[in-house]
Every structure is written in C-alpha cells, then in structure tokens.
Amino acid sequence: MVGFFRSGNLASRVFDRQFLSPRPGATVNTVRQFYENLVPSYTIYDIDCPDYSFRKFTDDGKYLVAFSRNHQDLIVYRPIWLTFSCHEECDSHDLPANAERFDSFFKQLYSISLASSNEYICKDFFLYMECHQYGLFATSTAQSNDSSATDGAIHGVPSIEKITFYLVRLEDGAILDEKAFCNDFINLAHSIGAYLYEDLVCIVSLRYQTIHVLQIRDSGSLVEVRRIGAFCREDDELFLYSHGQAAQGNSFLPGIKQRLLSYIFRKTWNEEPDQALRVQHLKKKFYFHFQDYVDLIIWKVQFLDRRHLFIKFGSVDGGVTRSTDQNLAFFAVYNMETTDIVSLYQNSSEELYSLFEHYYDHFHANPQNSSHEKFISSHSNSVHALDQLCTIKNKASSSSQQFVKKMMASLPYTCQSQSPSPYFDLSIFRYDEKLISAIDRHRHCTEHPIKFISVRQPNVVKFKIKPGSDSGGSDSRAKRISSFLFHPFFPLALSIQQTYMQPTVVNVHFRR
C-alpha cells in the first residue's frame, strides 16, 4: 500500500504534513498513519492494581469502567497519561519503581454501589451514550430455570426474577434513572439484548416477546416510547378492548407476528401471476409451513435508523443461547412508524449477503457517536478486510449457503462491541485475528506475544502485546483466558489474563 507520507520517519512525516494536504475526505485516515510511529511498545508486567474486573474504556476515552469482584459495585477511573513524581534521581532509561503503579495511569473517580443484596451487576453489559456521558448498566437476580408459560410468556425461555437497568452519569456517578423488568428474560451477555442508537434504546424481552423502545431524555430519565410485540401501534390495545375482543383470551396472534405472516402471505400471493395456480402455490409455500412461521420468536434486534428495526427471528431452541448456524432464521426490516415489515430475508439469502458485503458499516452507523466509531475497519471500508473475507469465501469447502449462514450469524450487529482503537485498523496493522481483534471477547491465551505488523512494511513488527507475566506461563496446563482493553486514541492498552484459581494478571502497554 502506498502511504501518503514519503517516509516512515516520524520527524520527516511531521514536516510533510506541513505542506502536503491529504486526499479529499481522507484526512482522518491519513493522520491515522502516525499511529505507525506511536505504538504501545513498552509493557509493565503484572501491575499492582485493585482486584476489580475491568470492563471497558468508553469510546471517547474519558473513563475506564470496572466492577468489583462481588459484582455489586461500579468503579470508574479516568485514564491520565503516565504521571509520577520521585524524590531521588531518576534513571532516564528505566521507570522508577514507584511509577509503575496503577495510580500513575488511572485516577479513581468514584465507586458506587449499584446492586443490592441478592442482585448482581451483569459484568458484560455496558452501553455508553457519548453526548451526555451516560452509561447504561444492568443488574439481575439469579436465573431460575422455570420456563413455564405464565400469562404472555412463551415456553422454553428461562425467567429471571428481576432485571434492572440503571442510567448513570459517569461524570460524577449519579444514578439518574432505573427501569426494572420482573419475571422476564433479557439476554444481557455482551449487551446482546439491548441496542443504543442516538437517544433510543431497544431492549428485547425474550420471555414476553416484546421489544421495548426507551428514550433517554437529556435530563437523564428513561421513558418508554414504544412497546412492540403483542401490539404494534400505541392504540391497538385500546381499540381491541373497546370492541370487547381482548377479554376472550389469547385468540389473537401477537401484532408483530401478524405483520410477519401477512407479509409472507402477500409476497407468496404476488409470486404467482396465474390466478388459477395461486391457491395451490399458497398452499405449498405458505399454509404448509404456517405453524413453523407462527412458532418463530424474536431473537435479537437492532436499529437501522430512528424508525427502522432489524429483527432476527428464529426457533425457540436457538434463541437463548448463542445461535448456531444450523437453525433456520429470518431477518426482517420493520418500520416502527407505519408498523410495516419492509422486507424479509432468510439467513441463507444471497441478496442479504450482498448487502452485508457492501454496506456492513451502515448496520452500525450511529450519527451521534464519536468520529472514532466511523473508522472501525470492516470488510466494507478496508480492502485488506475484504481480501480476508474473500479468501474465507473461496476456501469455504461446504456449500456457499453454509458460508452465508455463518456470516449472517453476526447480524444484527451487537451495539458497541468493537473497539475504535486505531491499532486495530487493518490498513495500518496486521495481526492475528484469532488472538486479538477489535471485538471485545475473551480469548485463549498463547505463550507467545501477539505481534502487530505494519501493512506498509510487511516484515517489520511494530509492537507486541504479551498478556500474562514476564516470566511466561508457569503452569501451561491451566486454562488461561485473556482480554484486551485498548484506549480509543492513546497508545495505551490493558491486557488482562485470568487463570483458573489464580490471581488475575494485568499488564499495561503504553508508549514511553
């Protein structure tokens, strides 16, 4: 790849920047190339830090969110650059011992208690609203496997006694509002069950098959604006009650299901131009599978814009756990204002795959978010990522349908699941995606450090990230999991290695 700057030297690049102007519309991409020169190459191993589970840097880089080990407290730090003072003579090559402390990098702002006695903070759930610096957290009581169908609930989905969402102002730790769901089940792992778009949050209640759309007001209150599931429009329930229908029990299918079925009916009807064969066609395509369509449930939802939702439907057995690609699933685009289903695709649809390949970035477009999120590398904006995708596609030995299903498993997009750090930018660095990537998931540890190789100079390793202690794994049989937290724009990263029955090791990687 031809770089914009004429050489790799930092000083010469700074001089170039004085008189060369970047290509139109590519200012950020061009300036990002400076990250090749400023890398977190220095590591402090096993830093002495409080025993919290660190969750994430917020996308504007202002806060580091952590939870206490007993899952009841929220602790927020502010990342500051390395600052320390020492009395004695400091050696310019090594950091003095009292500088290698967690406090030199992070300043604790506050610690608040979110969960009371029998509730626990869900460690995986965190959504950040950048414009007001609000964070959305969730606490839940223990999960009971009572999956009996009470009124309105469906079979096969477990129940949690109480799930509470808290809106916290991260600046000072004030809890602004809370919203509780009782005897319900919401998939809180990795924030899958909720999606934040501008000031709207949609929360999917799997047990009652309802999509709750909440608005975060500027004052910090959570207001429910829509509830989609049994009824689609706000006045549907009133209409039915006034006509005495609802009292007759569950004779009606839920509103969203009716929309789905009528869409499939109309589409099947229009497929056959010949009047005489229409009924036969309907019988084969629609009525034969009617019960299967009725049994579909909502799995996951995301916003495409303020009015449109992208809903994944599937069968009951795949809904609660992470879905496998064996199950059949459908994707619907639903317009909340007109309550119409705009289009429906099966998860093996080539048409949807071509939209996925070309416009993947629009699945997570969010106008209010920081500009960092617009530059997350994906196969729609990076030639290198597209190359990788095409390699996988060509290598897919099984049918292309299996490949498409596997790719569709990543839709709908999980909100704020990718780190916007430029070190994950595929046009600047190459790295092993199985060991580390922008998606914040726990990964298995390896013995060797993870190398970040420059794309421009393919033989040069720019920096390495090694989780775990300096001496290497003492007991290689123990299962070790590592997770990485990268600051959105500083050359600062935390790598956290957890070993079963042993203390957690936290390393700090930064640029000296």
Binding site: P273, D305, Y345, S349, L352, A365
Partner: protein, 142 residues
C-alpha cells in the same frame, strides 16, 4: 496554415536533436520513426518525441481525404439548454443507502416460481421449510 508549417519546422528540429542527445533504447535507426509516423497520421502534435510512437496513432481522421493539418477532434455542443431547472434544490437523501436497498428490493417485481429441487436441498433434519421469499436466489445488484 502558416502557423502549422511553423510548428512542423520546430518539430523537425526537435526530433533531429533528439536523435543525437537522447539515444533510444531501441537503437538510433528508429529515431526518425516517431516523427514520420505521427506526421503521417496527421496528429496535431506533429512529430514531437514521444515515449511510444503509437501513442497518437488512434487519432485518425475519419475522412481520409481531409487535409492532415485540419484534423482536430470535434467538440460536442449541446442542442438543448443545459441549465438546471430554476427551483431545483439538491439535498441529501435522509434514508441511508442500506435502507434504500431494502425498500428497493421489496418493490422489485415478484420473481418466478422456484424450482422444486432447490427447496428439497434445504430439507435437513426435522423441519422442512421452503424459504419465505425468493431471496435465496442469486444476488441482484441494485
């Protein structure tokens, strides 16, 4: 015409100099070729030295009887008014491109009935389902 003759004289001198100062990799025997080829073709650039002698060979006058020196590429002059309409306002479409594609795909003509073997291929395991739409067909680039 005088201007063109003057230009030709200049070109002749330049290419003559070229023969001495810039020996081509293909050998000195070919130095005179660029000049004659370009001049013979009637290129308005005459016999100026060029990297590839065939560069301007495409510019052949359609009418072979026309004078080589009069050959210039014709320019297009519109026969109608090209002003934009007076009240035209160009704005950004508020719906993003992904949604536009979703709406477009749903408005496409209904596809013909699908062949039975394809739905049979999907039958695996417990449930037999045929796709809800024609979306499993090859992608349509819209």
């Amino acid at each position: 015409i005088i201007h063109c003759l003057h230009m030709y004289a200049l070109c002749y001198q330049l290419s003559a100099k070229k023969g001495r100062a810039w020996p081509e990799s293909s050998g000195t025997a070919q130095t005179s070729r660029p000049r004659t080829a370009a001049a013979a073709m009637g290129s308005p650039l005459g016999g100026w030295p060029s990297h590839n002698p065939q560069n301007f060979s495409q510019l052949v006058p359609a009418d072979p009887s026309a004078q080589p020196t009069n050959v210039t590429p014709t320019t297009y002059i519109a026969a109608h008014r090209t002003d934009p309409p007076a009240n035209q306002v160009i704005t950004t479409e508020p719906r993003n491109i992904l949604l536009r594609h979703f709406y477009q795909n749903s408005e496409n003509k209904p596809r013909p009935k699908r062949a039975a073997p394809e739905s049979a291929a999907l039958r695996n395991g417990k449930q037999a389902r045929s796709p809800a739409d024609g979306g499993s067909q090859s992608s349509t680039r819209s």
